[in-house]
Symmetry: C2
């Protein structure tokens, strides 16, 4: 989200995010979107180039947020366990503060068309590699055991990414508590260690 947007355009993007999450991108029509806002479908085109532009904005906006989080973590030089905890916390923060957008980010990106689609996928891979690197560092330090690294990373990210589905802002757990629980679970597992 680099350029300033008018209030109306923000409202359109926000409403689109909600609808895309609820019904899916393909099943949400521009008329649905317009009537949720209270204008006619054609009026949307005074603010937005196309339906896909909305999807693009949502998906790449989230990608940007994740990369910003990553940069904050990588600019510090920490031991792997601490770095992992921080990475998890930042990731959870992004997701819990943009729940609908996270759902769209996870599920609807494949409706992007080329070349955006390829760009999106490679950004996703790069972000995944960032978690892989933390695990690898931890193994090298002797803090983590050497398991299948790819499997571990995908398990972790799956757990975190599913948050959009069950996190409730009015629930008992705060985002940073969830992050701490997740980190604890991923690092120490569920077994009784006494």
């Amino acid at each position: 989200m680099s350029v300033t947007q008018t209030e109306r355009k923000l409202q359109i993007t926000d409403t689109a995010t909600t609808l895309f999450r609820q019904k899916g991108y393909a099943a949400t029509s521009m008329r649905d979107l317009a009537s949720a806002i209270g204008i006619e479908a054609a009026s949307l085109y005074n603010h937005v180039r196309s339906k896909e532009e909305l999807l693009h904005r949502i998906c790449f906006g989230m990608a940007e947020a994740f990369f910003k989080a990553r940069h904050q973590v990588e600019s510090l030089h920490l031991a792997a366990p601490v770095k992992l905890r921080l990475a998890i916390e930042k990731h959870v923060e992004v997701i819990t503060s943009h729940r609908d957008a996270s759902a769209v980010f996870q599920h609807e990106w494949r409706h992007l068309s080329e070349p955006d689609l390829s760009v999106f996928i490679s950004m996703r891979n790069e972000y995944e590699a960032y978690f892989s690197e933390i695990i690898r560092q931890g193994v090298a330090e002797g803090n983590f055991r050497a398991t299948d690294e790819k499997l571990a990373v995908l398990s972790l990210l799956s757990s975190l990414n599913w948050l959009y589905d069950w996190y409730r802002p009015d629930g008992t757990l705060l985002p940073h508590e969830i992050a701490a629980h997740q980190a604890e679970l991923f690092i120490y597992g569920i077994n009784q260690t006494t």
Copy 2:
């Protein structure tokens, strides 16, 4: 999948599964489906009542497979750690042997209409409760530590359910090896225990 189906109907369901996974339910047209098979769209209706029937068949077929797995596990009376490993193994087996259907099951169920939708959701909750119960049992036995049980279950299931996305039948890991790794990771975590 209770009643016998003709070969053609099976082919339609299988092809629909692939397409729904690739493009999503809403974005897959009956004409897409027909031309992937090599017939006309109208001809599909000699075998299938509606597009939604296909989605219903896929979603509830998977639900049935998961419940069958659950029944196999629950009919044995095992200590929680062993039971959990078995439950994970069965779950992974279902997913890895029906990858496309798993993806559809995970993402497209919301396009079901009532009352099927409500039935589906409550089956899903019930299956989730089955994993919760295993964790609870393990805590009662003193084998698992008392964490947030819901969070633990959702983390585990998220990790397992994401499998459809990255599991490759021609990869290095066999399904039961993946299951073993997942169980190990969930129970003991990634920390170096020496």
